[in-house]
Symmetry: C2
Subunit: 134 residues, 2 copies
Amino acid sequence: MAGITNPRETGGQKIAASQVNGTAVYDRAGEKLGTVYDVILDKASGHADYAIMSFGGFLGIGDRYHPLPWRQLHYDTRVEGYVVDADRAQLEGAPTYEAGELDVWGGRHASTIDDYYGATPGTGNAGLGTGPIR
Amino acid sequence: MAGITNPRETGGQKIAASQVNGTAVYDRAGEKLGTVYDVILDKASGHADYAIMSFGGFLGIGDRYHPLPWRQLHYDTRVEGYVVDADRAQLEGAPTYEAGELDVWGGRHASTIDDYYGATPGTGNAGLGTGPIR
């Protein structure tokens, strides 16, 4: 599937689904953590529910992936990437999966992620990510 | 980018961004029109604003693509695809682009699409697609 080919030129505030994967992810201190591996969309509403992050071994966990509730990410136009509203200790303790475990995304994953981040989708940012910037 | 590999198994209501492209699109009579070529997401909110449809020459227009406001699409779990809330005459008259023209998605495209479908995003389904099923 070809899709839109130039994500940097999608009008600033927009990005093609075919290009969101690979977008850079930073911590609140501005240090790059990794990239977006995939995004879980609700088919009906078209809303992003979860972002699956690839930290590329940065946290010492090799090829494992971190799903996060979408609300934990904030797009920062200055860095052209997402800032994760959680610190490294929180990410190190978060649920991770091998790629093969994510081939099938189901309610079980969602429950695990929601439990860890302390809120169900749509109830606001009441999770671990609400602490002060360290 | 690998991403989630099995869109049919993403829990029914969810789909990975890496897999939404290629999802089947039907008219209101249940006839297949084509597929989703790409989806334009708002980077900050994570919401799908526009779906770019590929009708694969079905409407006699070869390799041209139809962007539609996301609200014109309704996911139908029975067919595992999207139903377009517009009839063929409306689609035949709608703005289309060659792939190269969509490499850069900008406000100009959005304005053209919003004008044609008769409403701005977020103001509800007040466009051409509100007519009765024929």
